[in-house]
């Protein structure tokens, strides 16, 4: 038996966690492209460095994004990955699939690509990992015929994503999947045709647990919430306690604002103190439910560190009703005003959060026509460097 050509990677087939190396090898059997990826990767493991070049301009007719061009630095040695572009397909809301749809994705990719995928990319797309330039347009043609469209890339709206929401979760305060689908379709142009100073992302979670990490990685995070009282089933609470839940330590003491009290029989709830953190609900989902006057908090500015540090999204709209009947018009009006301002004011490669920081929240709020309210901040300013509007002065 001949010695393996990928001893380093082979080692990653050991162990209990499923192996991506095994996955690549599966394809390598039939696909020279996958075989060369494996060999190139082995070299990377040996040399401790990647061997990819900057992407060149490749794309689909009528689209300004959706494909990441990728070429190896070593095309002579690894001709199979001379061109090894990825294509981003927009996933259905909540990543629900029929097997039929998934199999179609696989079948087309088997013929026209490496057979390797990421299910899914960090933004949410189906990532088709590795094809050649000449296959890009045919791939698109085939997928679009089967009901799939490209996801986002470049300086435009990125593929929105959302948690499973009402489809599989009792905490959902908004219909995340419908909202995500609606917005994605409404903003197809923004998604597909780069035209902005930089990327912009929307992510939607049904409640403050934020199961898609919207607050940390989207410029516009829509997080379901409510504004009335928790619904408490006292009998069910007692049942939890009887079954051994240390309600004082685990629930009461961990409420961030001391909104709860347990007198041994009844769970007392100070509605005005509750900041809707979800903790008590999470801990006793059978006994405590969210309120019924539901909507969303809109947070703006979330992003990774480049350039000005990572930002978490900030509360801009504390509560907005998310009305399907109204086609989510209120949110659309808001986000469009925000984009317009940002598009106008931002420097190249400046995310909206950075523009807000540079120009001041006051200017952003005027642009989106919102009144400042204390819910937008943790604390008021400590420095005295206040700007005054001309109309404030005598």
């Amino acid at each position: 038996m001949s010695e393996s050509k990928t001893p380093l990677l082979d080692d990653l087939e050991k162990g209990q966690w499923p192996s991506f190396v095994t996955e690549i090898k599966k394809m390598a059997e039939t696909k020279p492209m996958a075989q060369d990826l494996l060999s190139l990767l082995e070299l990377s493991y040996k040399d401790k460095r990647g061997y990819w070049k900057h992407g060149g301009l490749v794309g689909i007719m009528g689209y300004g994004g959706g494909v990441i061009g990728r070429y190896t630095e070593k095309p002579e040695e690894f001709p199979g990955v001379r061109e090894f572009h990825t294509m981003r397909l927009n996933q259905p809301s909540g990543w629900f699939y029929t097997t039929k749809a998934l199999r179609t994705v696989c079948d087309i990719w088997e013929v026209k690509g490496s057979g390797l995928t990421n299910m899914h990319g960090a933004t949410g797309d189906i990532i088709l990992l590795g094809t050649t330039t000449d296959q890009l347009q045919p791939l698109f043609n085939a997928y679009s015929n089967e009901g799939f469209d490209l996801g986002g890339s470049g300086s435009n709206l990125r593929t929105p994503s959302c948690c499973c929401g009402m489809a599989r979760c009792e905490y959902a305060c908004i219909d995340t999947m419908d909202l995500c689908h609606n917005l994605t379709n409404h903003y197809q142009d923004e998604l597909h045709r780069p035209m902005w100073p930089y990327k912009s992302k929307i992510k939607i979670s049904g409640c403050p647990n934020d199961c898609v990490g919207a607050i940390a990685r989207s410029d516009f995070a829509i997080l379901g919430t409510w504004r009335d009282d928790l619904r408490i089933d006292q009998a069910a609470v007692r049942e939890y306690v009887e079954k051994g839940l240390d309600i004082q330590e685990i629930v009461i003491d961990r409420c961030p604002t001391s909104a709860l009290n347990w007198d041994g029989n009844e769970l007392q709830f100070k509605s005005e103190e509750c900041v809707r953190c979800m903790h008590c609900i999470n801990t006793m989902s059978k006994a405590i439910r969210t309120g019924v006057d539901k909507g969303a908090t809109i947070l703006v500015g979330g992003k990774a560190p480049i350039l000005q540090s990572a930002f978490l999204g900030w509360v801009i709209v504390p509560f907005m009703k998310m009305e399907k009947e109204n086609d989510y018009q209120e949110f659309k009006d808001f986000v469009e005003k925000a984009w317009e301002w940002w598009d106008e004011e931002a420097k190249v490669r400046e995310r909206i959060g950075e523009t807000i920081c540079r120009l001041g929240m006051r200017n952003f709020l005027r642009a989106v026509e919102l009144e400042p309210i204390p819910q937008m901040i943790f604390k008021p300013r400590t420095n005295p460097y206040v700007f005054w509007w001309p109309e404030d002065l005598n």
Binding site: G15, P18, F20, V21, E23, I24, K26, M27, A34, L41, S44, Y45, D47, K48, R49, G50, W52, G55, M61, G62, R70, F84, T86, P92, T98, A101, R103, C106, E110, G115, L116, T117, N118, M119, A122, Q137, A142, S144, N145, D149, A167, R168, E170, H181, P208, C211, A216, R217, L223, I250, R276, C277, K286, P305, I306, S309, A310, L312, V348, R349
Partner: protein
């Protein structure tokens, strides 16, 4: 179910070409849902997790949905997807989903099929788990598999860390959820900056400039503006730029905007470890991860030092946190100065922030622990 033939695909392709339409948007999620979800959409009342890998959601209608969660390496072949589809066809009327952390969820309405499904999954080598207070699947990125910017590999590091923490994926014995994420460079694709433990690839030397190429391929003002620390100055003589090495902190942003700048350096690229971030609003507010270990060299294929470091952090937290306390909540309670002591991690000047908001991290009080 047999796959489409090449001929069929050619036909599909041609049809698509003829239609030549754009902007159809994603497939409609409504078409993807199993009947039980359609029936109970928005009506779920509560859930239980009878054991690791199994969620049971009960509806106001009384219906129960069983979800079996299957671990995935994310970088998967179409074979993997097809196999999963086979399970879904056999047990779930052809329906399944993926989670925000790449796991596969098989959705059943029939309780009796749950155990057989789990049994068959395990038999075929799939891993079931990843629910409740577990080490969740690791959010990660491309690494040496596809990205030009990577300072380390992604999938490989994830694989070895998950191998080591495997028992915590398939059980629910941790104090709280443990969300690990990995990004292979400072661009931080994925929410690694808000993870209980973040594994981050970093470069450590200033990029080199190919002046000849800069002239032809890069917009100088954009390159200069790209640098967060103003390390890049115009070099009018060469019609290029000069990087002031002592101001560069290797973020790679200049490299991103200009292909004529090179940042990869195998000797000095490697991994840093960050701890204590979170995303959820539960109890404490969302929080960034903080630097714990500034640098570990790349040591493929199994990155033993990284695995060891992550493992130790998880064990330390597990042994010391109160029930329900996330990593960062535990550290906040004991204090970072205590954390460095109990974690036996060297504290260096790298841990002290020196970027824009640095001053907010300096200890402006005499209150501290020894």
């Amino acid at each position: 179910m047999s796959a489409l033939t090449e001929a069929q695909i050619d036909e599909i392709t041609k049809k698509g070409e003829q239609k030549s339409i754009t902007d159809i948007g994603p497939p409609f999620y409504g078409d993807m849902l199993p009947q039980i979800i359609k029936d109970n959409y928005g009506k779920w009342k509560y859930h239980e997790i009878p054991k690791s890998g199994l969620l049971v959601h009960t509806s106001e209608t009384g219906d129960k949905l069983y979800t079996v969660r299957v671990g995935s390496p994310r970088l998967v072949s179409i074979n993997f997807i097809r196999e999963i589809c086979d399970f879904a066809d056999k047990y779930c009327d052809g329906h399944l989903r993926f989670t925000s952390r790449y796991n596969v969820e098989l959705l059943l309405s029939d309780k009796d099929k749950v155990e057989p499904l789990i049994a068959e999954l395990k038999e075929k080598g799939f891993v079931v788990g990843g629910t409740g207070n577990c080490v969740a699947n690791i959010v990660h990125t491309q690494g040496w598999v596809h990205c030009h910017s990577a300072a380390t590999d992604a999938s490989g590091v994830v694989k070895v860390v998950m191998d080591e923490l495997f028992e915590y994926f398939t059980s629910m014995k941790l104090p709280a959820k443990m969300k690990i994420a990995l990004a292979c460079c400072l661009n931080m694709c994925g929410a690694v900056h808000c993870s209980d433990i973040a594994i981050l690839g970093i470069h450590r030397v200033a990029p080199t400039v190919d002046h000849e190429a800069v002239k032809n391929t890069c917009e100088l003002p954009a390159v200069i503006a790209s640098c967060p620390t103003a390390a890049i100055r115009p070099n009018p003589k060469l019609k290029s730029v000069t990087i002031k090495e002592e101001r560069c902190m290797y973020c790679g942003n200049c490299f991103t905007v200009c292909p004529a700048i090179h940042i990869v350096n195998p000797e000095n690229d490697g991994i840093s470890i960050w701890v204590g971030g979170k995303v959820s609003n539960a109890r404490s507010t969302p929080a960034f991860s903080h630097l714990a270990i500034p640098f570990i060299p790349n040591n493929p294929p199994r990155w033993p030092e990284v695995v060891d470091a992550v493992k130790k952090l998880v064990e330390l937290w597990k042994d010391n946190a109160k029930k329900g306390e996330r990593m960062g909540e535990w550290i906040d309670r004991i204090g970072w100065e205590r954390f460095f002591k109990v974690a036996e991690l060297p504290f260096t000047d790298k841990h002290i922030d020196d970027f824009t908001f640095a001053y907010t991290t300096f200890r402006a009080t005499t209150q501290f622990k020894w």
